[in-house]
Amino acid sequence: MLEVSDLSLSVSIQGESVEAVSGVSLKLKAGSVLGLVGESGCGKSMTAQAMLRLGEHQGVTKAGGDILIDRQSLFSMDDETLRHIRGGRIAMIFQEPMTALNPVFSVGSQLIEVIRLHLDMDKRQARARAIGLLQDVGMQDAEQLLAQYPDALSGGMRQRVLIAMAMAADPDYIIADEPTTALDVSVQKRIIALLLNLQKKRNLGLLLVTHDFGLVAEMCDQVAVMYAGQIVEAGPVKEIFDHPAHPYTRALMGCRPEVSEPGVLMPVIGGQVPPPGRWPAGCHFAPRCALADNACQAPVAAKAWRSGEHIARCLHVPEVGQ
């Protein structure tokens, strides 16, 4: 299991250390898909990158908590061990397939490099594996593709190559950060279907980082909703869609154009997400919440409301359904 336990992260803003992720806990199990949802700036990508200990050279530091892979802390590992964990045990798929591939190396050389970095294979074996991986991600003419450069491929093809690279060393966990956001709509569904297909076949634990509830509805078993650095609600996907508990989750789901009536004003959330450093002392959503009262001005526990596996950081959940 890959576990994020009460993790807090700080960033440095104009020389000052400011908390950007606050007390986040997640459990990613083999064979399951967990969605981490939120709007830009909520800390979801920073959390996901920390799960590979990325982002540290950009000034992100751990302020508390831990990340454990099979009960072993990522923060206790030396660089050599981390190098094997990255790509070997936990692989990442990024949003922008063009910038994630190197334009001056062929698809084959980039794929074979990853394979040989993690697996004890000679060039010929690695090449055969590369062809197999490209076939697994639905590419015809895999052999010809090895000689191509990223420039010659469409966005969807590039994302397939990146997925193949992520699978290169048979990882146990995949972290996919907005894997379809940059792609055309008609390509998106196939990439989603492909990811899920591979996830099931290989019994992967998949963390999907996204702003898109449609994608969550399509892919996830479990969901965690983030707002201003905190997880405000988490639970099984059907429960979250049937009975969203936190006022923020409810509001965000109501804003989706796919559930709105044409020609009618869409529901909106008044105000703005407070940036790190300007979070309220109590519930982070309180200033924008119609249900907020005095009790919400003090910090609210992550499991202030609970129903089975479904939890919400809210003191007023019973009122929400009314």
């Binding site: 709007e39 830009s40 639905g138 590419m139 015809q140 420039d151 469409s154 966005g155 969807g156 093809m157 397939r160 055309d184 709509v185 008609s186 390509v187 998106q188 569904k189 196939r190 989603i192 279907a193 492909l194 899920l196 297909n197 702003h211 898109d212 509830f213 449609g214 994608l215 509805a217 399509e218 996830c220 996907v237 059907k238 869609f241 509001a251 965000l252 804003c255 989706r256 154009p257 796919e258 559930v259 709105s260 044409p262 020609g263 004003l265 869409m266 529901p267 909106v268 959330i269 703005q272």
Partner: protein, 316 residues
């Protein structure tokens, strides 16, 4: 009534090649595109990247020269007007861009950015009159005048998009071309901007040419829809018809690709996982991925029929 915009048989080709690529001949970006936009109406042009939707919009605005065909603004043929002659007419049609972070000059104060159009189209206004007009236009877009002397980086994405809309509106256009105006925004902000666009249209009788790849957003805002694929309009009709009873298999494919609203609607098992992005060079461009393809599609001339679709074997 004369349509506010009329496009008749627009064509555009770009010559291939670039710094690192061999010259590969011409790419036909838009082929025989015709549409009309009525006053107060929203026409959405939908399609994926490379479909020619943005090129069509840029020809409609005369930001790109038109290879052949006619573009009429309020009945006047502007297809071959000179840049100089166009300048005095540009207040008629204005554009809102996709990326509110890239489309505002970071070194200009907000009011200066918004006032730029006034300096071209209303040269007679004094400095204080210009500031007054900018303040009024920002207010229309839901921003108070306290931000006028600030710089773009001090605003959020949604606020910047409001500024982008104000900049287009300040010269009082009749038509706004909206090129993916909400696709760079968060969902909750998206809803605010769509509501603002709806309100502005109602209050001011604006006409919108709305370019988008997002059918959920289009369904919310459009009166009529034109679906583009590989440079051609392959289906056009009222939003109700296109979303309710579409005929072209490509439109159906786009509709099937929309995000679902609830996990109970999952149907991914039926989605093929293999890569499939080909475009046919002759005949119907969609024939390589079309589930309804037959032999005669290879020789189809791809003209829209009287019912508004270009397909020999349409969906029921």
């Amino acid at each position: 009534m004369t349509p506010i915009l009329t496009a008749a048989n627009l064509h555009k080709s770009f010559s291939g090649g670039g710094m690192f690529r061999a010259v590969t001949g011409e790419k036909r970006a838009v082929i025989d595109a015709s549409f009309e936009l009525a006053a107060g109406e929203t026409l959405a042009i939908v399609g994926e990247s490379g479909s020619g939707k943005s090129t069509t919009a840029r020809m409609a605005m005369r930001l790109l020269p038109i290879d052949s065909g006619q573009m009429l603004w309020d009945g006047e043929d502007v297809s071959s007007l000179s840049a100089r002659a166009l300048r005095s007419r540009r207040h008629f049609i204005q554009m809102v861009f996709q990326d509110p972070f890239a489309s505002l000059n970071p070194r200009m104060k907000i009011w200066e950015s918004v006032a730029e159009g006034l300096r071209v189209h209303h040269r007679d206004l004094s400095h204080s009159q210009r500031r007054q007009r900018v303040a009024e236009t920002l207010a229309l877009c839901g921003l108070d005048d306290s931000g006028m002397d600030r710089y773009p980086h001090q605003f959020s994405g949604g606020q910047r998009q409001r500024i982008g809309i104000a900049r287009a509106l300040v010269v009082e256009p009749k038509v706004l071309v909206l090129d993916e105006p909400v696709s760079a925004l968060d969902v909750s902000v998206q809803a605010q901007i769509l509501n603002l666009l709806n309100k502005l249209q109602r209050d001011r009788g604006l006409s919108y040419l709305f370019i988008s790849h997002d059918l959920s957003v289009v369904r919310h805002i459009a009166d009529r829809v034109a679906v583009m694929f590989a440079g051609r309009i392959v289906e056009t009709g009222s939003a109700e018809t296109v979303f309710g009873r579409c005929r072209h298999p490509y439109t159906q494919a786009l509709l099937d690709a929309r995000p679902i609203a609830h996990p109970a609607e999952r149907a991914l098992d039926s989605v093929p996982v293999a890569a499939d992005e080909g475009v046919a060079g002759s005949g119907c461009p969609f024939q390589l991925r079309c589930p309804r393809v037959q032999a005669d599609c290879a020789n189809f001339d791809c003209r829209l029929n009287a019912e508004g679709y270009a397909c020999l074997h349409p969906c029921r």
